[in-house]
């Protein structure tokens, strides 16, 4: 199987970004920093999906990348609603804020019952479809390593309580992420439409 230069570039960029972002997320820093690096690592999965699509259109990589992008966008917007406290700042945890932060992390990690799970499965499948077992193994290992910063972040000071529009947006996003996780057909249909647009 021949691999063109753009494909090699995409795989190298995607794998390197995934590796660097995961390693940086594993360094003990502030919770917000870990979240930023995990968002970057999740974006690397989109690049890897695109690389698989470039290698072979039938690999389903484009749809995988699109679903991963949807999951990433939802998780990032949800995470933005949660404002961290300063370390050691006292305060009672609010259930909604804690749930929003946990759901954002679960989506980024690709854990059920969120849409992130299906996104990761689709990217892994596309990588295996083009015979890149090593890259798929790297992506899976990065997903497991990502649990550590997630748990550190979730165990840190509780986020500030969500009120007003932030609370409404958070509830809607949590519901959407869970609904897409339990019924991923909607997200996959959207990705199929994107695939048709990108490659008619």
């Amino acid at each position: 199987m021949t691999i063109s230069a753009p494909v090699i570039a995409a795989v190298v960029v995607g794998a390197a970004l995934l590796l660097v972002a995961t390693v940086m997320a594993l360094r003990p820093r502030r919770a917000a920093s870990g979240l930023s690096w995990m968002i970057t690592a999740t974006f690397a999965y989109c690049i890897l999906g695109l690389a698989a699509a470039l290698q072979a259109r039938e690999s389903d990589g484009l749809r995988g990348a699109a679903v991963q992008l949807i999951a990433l966008a939802l998780a990032a917007v949800l995470a933005l609603q949660c404002q961290s406290r300063e370390s050691g700042e006292p305060g009672t945890p609010q259930g909604l804020a804690s749930a929003a932060r946990a759901v954002a992390w679960l989506t980024l990690l690709g854990l059920p019952p969120t849409i992130g799970f299906h996104a990761k499965v689709m990217v892994y499948r596309s990588l295996l479809n083009v015979g890149w077992g090593g890259v798929a193994a790297l992506a899976m290992a990065a997903a497991v390593a990502g649990v550590l910063p997630a748990v550190w972040a979730l165990g840190s000071s509780p986020p500030l309580p969500l009120k007003g529009s932030r609370a409404v947006i958070s509830v809607a996003l949590i519901a959407l992420i869970a609904a897409l996780g339990l019924y991923p057909h909607l997200a996959v249909s959207l990705a199929s439409a994107a695939e048709r647009l990108a490659a008619p």
């Binding site: 854990l111 059920p112 479809n129 649990v147 748990v151 019924y183 057909h185």
Partner: protein, 512 residues
């Protein structure tokens, strides 16, 4: 597009019921806290638990109603397109999955009976129904984990299995993290690594044969190349191993002991039931294949370690709760030893039947010992062995339940556990594995001695018994139910043993 078979509604109902109840358990206390007086709250606090108990009774009823189909070698299946052209949302109920689902529902029913009893017998803060949000949170998580466990047991597809399993593990992680964040972290990493390994195995199989169906697993695996076959088998089995492994994987169990009132044995027994049932379910396609001798050896070493480590720690336990926790670890060791022994090409069917029977009987016996710990703590304020003595007169039922549950775990006749040990040990001897059989018998004797030692210390010593509160009829009823059930199955094991034989002939006889 959707191929919905006749019984799918029943299956889906079975699947979603615990989730519904989990929602009720989480919602009602909060509503009651905001809108009702103390007296009303006390009344409302019954609602989630009564609903949960009702759900468990309905679940057991539905499971039993599906049994005739499953026991005649048939399968009740539901097949939805989860994503239009990617993978199916398949559910499949066969004899083995129904046995395990039955065990999960039974566990849930007794748990709720127990919680109602504790609520009644508890201190004023609990008795008046002053709702503790953390308690409601824990109750919801335990119920959600039960629902996910049932989902995993009924999964007909490896991807659905991973989805359900990981959802349940996340619920348990959240539960463990409430009191032991560091152990929770280790638990989540192990769970995520295990789930990813199973997912990797499933995806590799899909890449080779284009399907991830569990029903067709043996045939699908047979159509693969040997190196890839070994890789898929190893990934799936190594991913499931942490669920059953007692020591050190379930070390977090003991950290939950301060939460006696929330019956923390549920997570551990859930994991052991689900892990064993799933491994047995995948066994015909994976474990009996002669390509993984190292896995059987690994299972055996880990199983013997769990068995003896659990038995030794139970021997030196200083309170009834810890005693029950370490007995749970020892039981997971028995299961691993049975699975390892069953992977031998010359192993008789009785070893695998013993593992299937243990899936149902071990939780019942463990629950009996746990219930005694909780019962004693609720009545005397402590279950520390140095502080309790001479309770034969004040709590005779607790003494009987401790003896019956503990000796059943040790395989003493005429209790239910005797038949598990009889099948396992006779199978080992028939297979020519005398040394292993002797090691298992020694472990049985050791556990029996530990149980008798604890019984003597707590119930037979001459010191005056500690002052105790009146017994809740719910708790006494639960103890009587468990004792009666374990003795009844021990004396009249026919139906259950026939069920296990049918499981072997149908689900487990698919081995290539």
């Amino acid at each position: 597009m959707a191929a919905i078979q006749q019984n799918s509604l029943i299956l889906v109902w079975l699947f979603v019921l615990p989730f519904f109840v989990a929602g009720c358990a989480a919602l009602f206390p909060r509503f009651s806290l905001r809108f009702h007086s103390d007296a009303e709250r006390a009344a409302m606090a019954w609602a989630p638990f009564s609903l949960a108990a009702l759900a468990c009774v309905m679940g057991v009823g539905l499971t039993v109603s599906l049994l005739p189909t499953a026991l005649t070698g048939g399968r009740v299946t539901a097949d939805y397109w989860w994503t239009q052209d990617l993978y199916h949302f398949r559910l499949q109920a066969d004899g083995l999955s129904l046995l395990a689902v039955f065990a999960v529902y039974l566990l849930g029913f007794l748990l709720h009976l127990h919680l109602v009893g504790l609520r009644e017998a508890g201190p004023p803060a609990e008795a008046t129904g002053t709702v503790n949000p953390t308690g409601a949170y824990r109750a919801a998580l335990i119920l959600a984990a039960q629902g996910c466990a049932i989902g995993a047991l009924l999964s007909g597809d490896l991807i659905v299995l991973v989805f359900s399993l990981e959802s349940g593990l996340i619920c348990l992680w959240a539960l463990v993290s409430v009191t032991a964040p560091r152990r929770g972290l280790r638990f989540l990493v192990a769970a995520q690594a295990g789930g990813t390994l199973v997912l990797g195995g499933g995806l590799l199989m899909w890449r080779q044969v284009g399907d991830t169906s569990i029903h067709a697993l043996p045939l699908l695996l047979l159509s693969m190349n040997p190196p890839e076959l070994r890789m898929v088998s190893a990934l799936i089995l190594l991913g499931l191993l942490p669920l059953i492994l007692g020591a050190p994987a379930h070390g977090w169990l003991v950290s939950l002991l301060p939460l006696k009132r929330n019956v923390p044995m549920v997570p551990a027994t859930l994991l052991v039931i689900v892990g064993t049932a799933l491994m047995l379910r995948l066994l015909p396609g994976v474990l009996v294949l002669p390509g993984l001798p190292a896995f059987a050896a690994l299972c055996l070493v880990l199983g013997l370690f769990s068995l003896w480590w659990g038995a030794l720690r139970a021997w030196i336990a200083t309170d009834l709760g810890a005693f029950a926790a370490w007995l749970t670890v020892a039981q997971s060791g028995y299961l691993l030893v049975a699975l390892a022994a069953a992977s031998s090409p010359t192993a008789p069917p009785s070893i695998m039947q013993a593992a299937a029977l243990q899936v149902l009987l071990a939780p019942a016996a463990i629950l009996a010992v746990w219930s005694v710990a909780s019962y004693v703590a609720a009545r005397t304020g402590s279950d520390a062995l140095p502080g309790i003595s001479g309770m034969t007169k004040t709590m005779p039922l607790a003494g009987v339940a401790l003896l019956v549950g503990g000796l059943s775990l040790a395989g003493a006749p005429p209790l239910a556990g005797f038949h598990v040990q009889r099948w396992l040990i006779s199978g080992l001897f028939v297979d020519g594995r005398w040394a292993l059989g002797v090691v298992v018998i020694l472990a049985d004797l050791f556990i029996a001695a530990a149980v008798l030692g604890v019984f003597r210390q707590a119930f037979l010593r001459a010191e005056p018994p500690p002052p105790s509160a009146p017994a809740s009829p719910w708790l006494s009823g639960q103890l009587a139910l468990l004792v009666g059930g374990i003795v009844l199955v021990g004396v009249w094991p026919g139906p259950l043993m026939r069920w296990c034989e049918v499981i072997f002939r149908t689900t487990l006889s698919l081995s290539p």
